[in-house]
Amino acid sequence: MAELELKNLYDNFRDGETIKAYAKIIAEDAKKLEKPINIMEVCGGHTHTIMKFGLPQLLPENVNFIHGPGCPVCIMPKERIDHAYVLSMQPNVILVTLGDMIKVPGSNGSLQDARAKGADVRFVYSPMECLKIAEENPDKTVIFFAIGFETTTPMTAVLVEQVIKLKVPNILFHINHVTVPEVMVELIDSRDVHVDSYNNQIDAFLGPSHVSVISGSKIYDKFPKDYGRPVVVTGFEPVDAMQGISMIIKQFVEKRCELEVQYKRVVNFEGNLKAQALIEKYFEKMSLFRWRGLGNVPDSGLKLREKYAAYDAEIKYKDVLPIAEIEDHKLCICGDILRGMAKPQECTIFGTACKPTTPIGSCMVSSEGACAAYYKYGNLI
């Protein structure tokens, strides 16, 4: 077999002519829409693609995006960031986490600040690196602060399995994994307390493809069936996104309401059963997980099963971990943005008090948040 080069995975999916061709198809089909439609891209990766490649500039006025809550860093409530901070400050602890988690400020500061104060905070690309760190530092406790949706959960599960199998004595876990379908249900069902109505504006969903690589497209089956919202599982390159949008619009024009997969090159209905079994083996659902900007969402978080409590940093360090919930600033409207009731520019502190360097609300903290994407790329429609 010829060697597959990395560029094969994205080159053709950024082709200007193909993108323009889809824009034309979408414009034609959108003329037939009976009313404007709002498509929620659930995932922060999609928000990033949509804004970075300027896709709203190619869409007709009656097709809008609602930027969803699918950025694992953005939705982490402050009290859990404080957990990471406090853990990193414990004697003989090395706190390990993924990517830009380390720059999100909690109430005492970010993990970067902790590091500047002498804490040993490290970021890794693969959680398996923890094994090496633990081996090199036998007199320290390595705490893996695990974050992410279904996409990253199996990597944590594999690490748990290795730690148990290899009897690694000095790795603990702080689990913050969350799941996508539960928060989608919450967005459709939730009552907005401010206006006392079920005022969400979501007509259809672009489903994140990498989540479905693990979980299959089956996790979205109920949305067209039970909630009347079409879902198209879509890839992350601009050609993917444009095709996914086009497929959604065609469903409306043809009066269909279905689950479809645009990202057929990887996603199937069942997903990666081995990864699912691993997740099932080590994790169980938390009855409630508090999402920053959205509040408590039933069954949306995971924790280590009771059997593995010995590896749970949240239990082992429970005496030092803060428990009080911390609300965001009163002026922050991230909850409304995540429900599709407001755009970032409508927020009075957007771009002034709240910037990527000094984020106040969840949508600004990571480059995948809606506000951060608007701030970074401008909204040049």
């Binding site: 080069e5 990395l6 560029k7 995975l9 994205y10 200007g16 002519e17 993108i19 323009k20 824009a23 990766g45 804004m51 970075k52 490649f53 300027g54 896709l55 500039q57 190619l58 694992p72 860093v73 993924l98 990517g99 830009d100 988690m101 380390i102 720059k103 970067q112 600040d113 590091r115 500047a116 104060k117 490290r122 970021f123 890794v124 690309y125 693969s126 690196e129 974050i147 992410g148 949706f149 996409t151 990253t152 990498h210 601009p238 990527p356 360097t357 480059s367 995948e368 970074k376 790329y377 401008g378 040049l380």
Partner: protein, 330 residues
């Protein structure tokens, strides 16, 4: 300003600028410093003067080492003012226990690079500190050069001018990132670390009038273009497709969620010339690197901003990189 200094304050982006302005410029304020060029122009425009410290880890990397970097970095800052590097100082801070042979290797590669620039080290200092006080070896170099092309300035951009890059961008940043602990990536990439004076001399010898010139080190090409747009009160309009990026660099960027234009370079410069010099300048640059290209035009569309045009007709701003570069999560 935040209460404590974080890694982000040294990234060449927004936080770095804030630190320099609010602390150093505040106390050191003077007209020469205020110009904030790569090197200070002193003695009535005859000399360029600059300094730089080097703390790179790992000390040896594909395509270079800290010694080569320490000479290139300072000489390039001089070259970016149209100056020929002449005299340098070299200070080293060494952690106790450091290998003598490695030190010798590093100083040897400094010598090779000095010869390329035609410069000599005329003064120096050595300090040895207890284990843990520095990470193996830090080097500071200061350089003086004689100015051969006057009037190069970040504030000289005018509508209609052309902007070029001297080669494909992001190699150094991508190489260092791939070699970092915690990121297990294998690649055949090499840093672009190189002395730039010979290329600048070739441009001058060809009679090209250089308007602005800057090596795209920390903060990458984005930082240079943003600074020029702000200082000159113009809009820099970039054709995204024309930015040369190696497949390997793009691959690393895609995996980690970076943009090549945000990554550091150590031997890549950005050049602004009048439209009439564009073709000739490109010809000269391509003799050294076939990947050099015209990437942008100066316009007045969004003054003070850098605009990126895609091949499918959309626009977005290219912002100054902020914060520490961190790989994306999924």
């Amino acid at each position: 300003m935040t209460k404590t200094i974080t890694i982000a304050h040294g990234n060449g982006g927004e936080e770095n600028n804030e630190l320099i302005k609010k602390i150093f410029y505040k106390h050191f304020e003077n007209d020469i410093l205020a110009k904030s060029e790569d090197a200070a122009v002193i003695e009535d425009g005859k000399l360029a003067f600059t300094t730089d410290s080097f703390t790179v880890s790992p000390l040896f990397f594909p395509g270079g080492d800290i010694g080569k970097l320490a000479v290139c970095g300072t000489c390039n800052d001089l070259a970016m003012m149209g100056a020929k590097p002449k005299y340098m100082t070299c200070s080293v801070i060494i952690e106790e226990g450091f290998s003598t042979r490695e030190l010798d290797k590093i100083v040897k590669s400094m010598k090779v690079e000095l010869e390329i620039n035609g410069a000599i080290v005329v003064s120096g200092d050595t300090k040895v500190v207890p284990k843990g006080a520095v990470d193996k070896l830090f080097i500071n170099t200061t350089g003086i050069g004689t100015i051969e092309h006057a009037g190069i300035t970040a504030s000289g951009l005018k509508e209609g001018m052309s902007i070029l890059v001297s080669r494909d961008v992001g190699c150094h940043g991508a190489t260092i990132f791939a070699a970092r602990e915690g990121i297990e990536l294998e690649s055949g990439l090499q840093t672009d670390c190189a002395s730039l004076y010979p290329e600048i001399k070739a441009l001058m010898d060809a009679g090209i009038k250089i308007i602005a010139l800057r090596d795209a080190t920390r903060g990458g090409v984005s930082a240079v273009l943003n600074e020029w747009a702000k200082t000159s009160d113009v809009c820099v309009e970039v054709e995204e497709e024309s930015i040369p990026v190696l497949d390997e660099v793009r691959g690393i960027c895609e995996m980690l969620g970076f943009e090549a234009v945000d990554l550091a370079n150590e031997g890549t410069f950005v050049l602004c010339v009048g439209k009439e010099d564009e073709v000739k300048a490109l010809e000269v640059l391509q003799k050294t690197h076939s990947t050099s290209a015209v990437i942008a035009t100066v316009t007045m569309q969004y003054v003070g901003r850098v605009l990126l045009n895609s091949s499918w007709g959309t626009k977005r701003f290219l912002d100054l990189p902020t914060g520490e570069l961190l790989p994306r999560i999924c």
